[in-house]
């Protein structure tokens, strides 16, 4: 059941003097493995969001996430400090539970030496899941570090920090209602397939919009999200309506992105025109790579 984008033409990006996308320097890494048809979801919404929060605030240079339980609790709206109080009197149970679960299942390693020191942790390479024993197992000797992960084919997602602002990870009922697990997972997966130099946005084989405005979503993508095409479509439609994903009409030569139709002349070679979804938040260094030099000028940004 395909989802139809209403008023597609009003959403299509047009060449404009005003910036159409937000280019941001900060990004963080999340392993692709955690969103898959053969990997269990986090046990509850708190653990999933706290994990993303930790990934986002992990400092790769000193391999630490120096966010105390108090900071986590306040940032994500689990607790507020009473006026005049030095610190939180109690840590919320959900935060304690989530951190304990992540530690027990080897997603993180505590690095504070004792309980008197504030909580801090190291992010570990996401464990393997073994269905037979229904347990997570730490893979030996793969550092949670780009090259190491890439070398051993542990794919990772590069997600702009701004797209996953702390606000959308909050505990508040309104944030949870708007930003469901499925929306967070879908947005992460869309970033996993965003390769500007090859596709000008999200790989059209994964999701594209046909000329009639219908969303065409790969079955593989839906399987990974453990949802139906209709459910994935509703979420993507919502992203489009909120401007978090923008449809752009692009030239493709041999399945590779050439430029935006609104920004450049058609290529000399045989080409196709496809509608690509380009995330609103783009990572700066992705646009400044050598591979992008030729294409950036042909891209509406």
């Amino acid at each position: 059941m395909a989802v139809q984008i209403q008023n597609l033409s009003s959403f299509l990006v047009k060449n404009s003097a005003v910036p159409q996308f937000e280019i941001t320097p900060q990004w963080f890494m999340v392993q692709r493995k955690i969103i898959s048809e053969i990997y269990p979801d986090f046990p509850d919404p708190d653990t999933f969001r706290i994990y993303l929060y930790l990934c986002k605030h992990f400092d790769h240079s000193d391999k630490r996430c120096k966010r105390s339980k108090e900071k986590i609790s306040i940032d994500l709206g689990y607790a507020t400090k009473q006026p005049g109080a030095q610190r939180l009197m109690n840590y919320p149970r959900e935060v304690d539970h989530a951190l304990a679960w992540l530690e027990n299942n080897k997603f993180i390693k505590r690095t504070n030496r004792n309980n008197h020191q504030p909580f801090q942790c190291e992010m570990l390479t996401a464990p393997d899941f073994v269905p037979g024993i229904n347990a997570f197992i730490e893979p030996a000797k793969v550092n949670f570090e780009w090259y190491s992960l890439k070398d051993s084919n542990h794919g990772y997602i590069m997600a702009p920090n701004m797209a996953f602002d702390d606000r959308i990870l909050k505990k508040s009922p309104s944030a949870r209602k708007t930003w469901t697990d499925r929306k967070l997972k879908t947005l992460l997966m869309l970033y996993a397939h965003t390769w500007l130099e090859y596709f000008g946005g999200v790989d059209p084989e994964i999701v594209t919009v046909d000329s009639g405005g219908k969303l065409v979503i790969s079955k593989w993508f839906c399987c990974n999200l453990k949802c139906s095409e209709r459910q994935a479509g509703d979420v993507i439609d919502w992203f489009v309506s909120r401007g978090l994903l923008k449809p752009v009409e692009c030239y493709f030569v041999q399945d590779v992105y050439y430029g935006d139709t609104g920004r450049c002349s058609p290529p000399a070679q045989a080409y196709e025109i496809k509608i690509v979804l380009r995330p609103y938040y783009l990572i700066r260094h992705k646009l400044e790579s050598d591979l992008m030099k030729l294409k950036k000028g042909r891209m509406i940004l």
């Binding site: 898959s36 048809e37 053969i38 899941f129 073994v130 197992i137 084919n153 590779v256």
Partner: protein
């Protein structure tokens, strides 16, 4: 079907290659097995063309690795393993073979095991894959595919099961070519191997070898010679293409058995049944 054996000799470069066939289903080529070059790495090195591997395929391969790494690690076994191995793959799917060409599925699975689970896929001496069509889809949100992969260590003439990932509901992604960023330079790169393959193919066709349509077909490929450092699946790719040029259609191939053995004289035995 028993038919007469036809022998022919083909000139490839300075060598004469002896070939026997029965015009229908058996071919024996008395020569060192050809191997598909590592096209992508070669292209990358020669032309320095940046490329992007198909992400769903890479992802599928990393899942295959996880299905083995997890159980082995939990038993205290360190990966990657060294030794001589065999792999058996069974694929059941609601999808047809048009979407799941078996040789490409096999290659994808092997690539998933390579480096991570076994040190080098050259140490894989036999591999088989079978397909069964599922009449009903498992569920609306689950994959249409059910995959079983068993890894064996070969010890002498026997084999010992190392681990089997059975009946995994996983979305299978066959081997896909990567995308090349520079579409002007890399499009047509010709390899010597392909020329040699085509010479053999032309000679077989001229001598009356034809593969009839329809199926299901079981394909057996046995490679002999100096094959220690040759990948089974990359040798198979050459001969599968040769068979396709003689009329074989991938969608009718329900089972493939590959094996290689070290021998003084090179030989490739092809059999369809």
């Amino acid at each position: 079907m028993i038919t007469g054996i036809h022998a022919l000799s083909v000139k490839s470069g300075k060598r004469n290659i002896q070939i026997q066939h029965d015009r229908v289903s058996q071919i024996t080529i008395f020569d060192e097995p050809l191997i598909e070059p590592y096209e992508h790495t070669e292209r990358r090195v020669i032309n320095e063309v940046p490329l992007l591997q198909n992400i769903p395929m890479m992802d599928f391969q990393s899942k295959i690795a996880m299905l083995f790494r997890g159980p082995l690690t939990s038993q205290g076994i360190q990966v990657p393993l060294k030794g001589v191995f065999e792999v058996d793959i069974e694929l059941q799917s609601f999808r047809s073979l048009d979407e799941l060409p078996l040789l490409d599925v096999m290659k994808s699975v092997i690539d998933g095991l390579n480096n991570e689970i076994v040190v080098n896929d050259q140490s894989l001496y036999a591999c088989s894959i079978g397909y069964k069509n599922l009449k009903t889809k498992p569920s609306r949100i689950k994959p249409s595919d059910v995959l079983s992969v068993a890894l064996f260590e070969r010890i002498g003439n026997r084999r010992r099961l190392i681990h089997a990932a059975d009946d995994v509901n996983i979305y299978v992604v066959p081997k896909k070519d990567p995308l090349f960023l520079d579409y002007d330079n890399d499009a047509l790169w010709s390899f010597d191997v392909h020329d040699q393959r085509d010479i053999i193919c032309d000679a077989l066709r001229a001598d009356g070898m034809r593969i009839a349509g329809g199926g299901p077909i079981k394909l057996t490929l046995n490679f002999e010679g100096s094959i220690m450092d040759k990948d089974l699946d990359n040798m198979a790719r050459v001969y599968f293409k040769l068979l396709e040029n003689l009329g074989l259609q991938s969608r009718y191939v329900h089972r493939i058995d590959l094996a290689k053995a070290q021998a003084g004289k090179g030989c490739t035995r092809i059999s369809l049944s």
